[in-house]
């Protein structure tokens, strides 16, 4: 049985930074729509299996999860955020590792050159990336994955709307 999701399909508008849910959705759509330099799309690897925080059950591998951590500082009166977007791509069995790594190459291309001024401003330029080591018992050793953290700065409507 599927876990309940906090945003249902079609319930939100993109592009938008008017809420946290819409920020997630905008980035998710940006990933789905992105065409890499060698004409590949994430859909070829994960279909539309890009989730927020955790995957539904039962899950098909490989899939991607997104998790945002955002900080706003007094230097910009709280209107500008720096955000860390953790992207996990997990596969199973171990033979999916090339799929996972290649999918994350596309994510890298998309999110390290990400500029979106259609709602507020979201800019991403840098990241760290790690391939997770093999799990040992009691975890599932056949799960492979890549975890990358992308750094953004955001002027989100959810905060800047207070100035209007």
């Amino acid at each position: 049985m599927s876990k309940p999701r906090f945003a249902t399909q079609g319930s939100i508008q993109t592009p938008s930074t008017a809420s946290t849910v819409q920020i997630y959705s905008t980035i998710r759509k940006g990933l789905i729509d992105y065409v890499s330099s060698d004409n590949q799309r994430l859909a070829q690897f994960v279909n539309d299996r890009i989730y927020v925080r955790s995957q539904p059950e039962p899950v098909l591998f490989p899939y991607i999860t997104l998790l945002l951590n955002r900080t706003s500082l007094s230097a910009y009166n709280g209107y500008r955020e720096t955000a860390l977007l953790e992207v996990q791509c997990l596969g199973k069995p171990e033979s999916q590792l090339p799929l996972v790594e290649t999918a994350m190459d596309i994510v890298d291309q998309c999110l390290t050159a990400y500029t979106d001024a259609r709602s507020g401003l979201t800019v991403g330029r840098s990241r760290t990336r790690n391939t997770i080591p093999m799990f040992s018992d009691p975890a599932d050793a056949s799960v492979v994955g890549v975890i990358a953290t992308y750094e953004f700065f955001i002027w989100p409507r959810v905060l800047t709307v207070r100035t209007n």
Partner: protein, 201 residues
């Protein structure tokens, strides 16, 4: 209800903000990779006319007495290619340097800096040095890019600094030179640079 803080934020910031380190072009060609971004300084000096009894700078008594516009940055590549303007070309960084086999280290391609005491000639200057920054919106009707352009310029200063385990840093300073032969720049008082909004590079 608490008040929101006073802020200079406006809804045009996402479009008008300038992003990233900037790219140096010479004409339509990228000059090379820089580290640490480009800097532009218009180098303007104002003089507010003095008179006996003056107590503060007075409106409408200012005039620009000098402009020394400068683009500076640290390029990390140096190319011996003199055929076309590419990749941190040697004879851009060392203005008017020419290859000279006489006196060269055996087997080398040797660049000889221009002899001191000689005036530089028109072709020794570089044309259309452009520091280009991206704006927040690539679809803005007023342009996706902002460039500072020196129609005529010269690398007046550079140094090369090596460091272990890293790229050699070549810090360069490019100064604008007024070319009164160019349309729009014929007056001696004309500023030797322009700030321009572009829809395409």
């Amino acid at each position: 209800m608490p008040d929101a803080p006073l802020s200079g934020y406006t809804s045009t910031l996402p479009t008008d903000v300038l992003l990233d380190s900037g790219v140096l072009y010479i004409g339509s060609t990228v000059f090379g990779a820089f580290a640490g971004g480009l800097k532009f300084d218009p180098g303007v000096t104002y003089r507010n006319m003095d008179f006996d009894g003056k107590r503060s700078p007075v409106k409408q008594l200012d005039r620009v007495t000098m402009r020394m516009p400068k683009i500076s940055g640290t390029v990390i590549q140096l190319s011996p290619d003199t055929a076309t303007l590419v990749s941190g070309k040697v004879n851009v960084i060392e203005p008017a340097a020419t290859t000279n086999a006489t006196g060269a280290w055996s087997g080398s391609t040797s660049y000889e800096p221009k002899a001191a005491g000689n005036l530089l000639v028109a072709n020794d200057y570089i044309s259309n040095v452009r520091a280009i920054w991206q704006r927040g919106s690539s679809t803005a009707s007023t342009g996706a890019y902002v460039q500072v352009r020196f129609p005529s310029a010269l690398v007046t200063k550079y140094d090369m600094t090596g460091s272990e385990g890293a790229e050699v840093a070549i810090a360069i300073e490019i100064e604008a030179r007024l070319d009164t032969a160019l349309s729009g720049f014929t007056s001696v008082g004309a500023a030797p640079f322009r700030i321009e909004y572009l829809t395409t590079i």
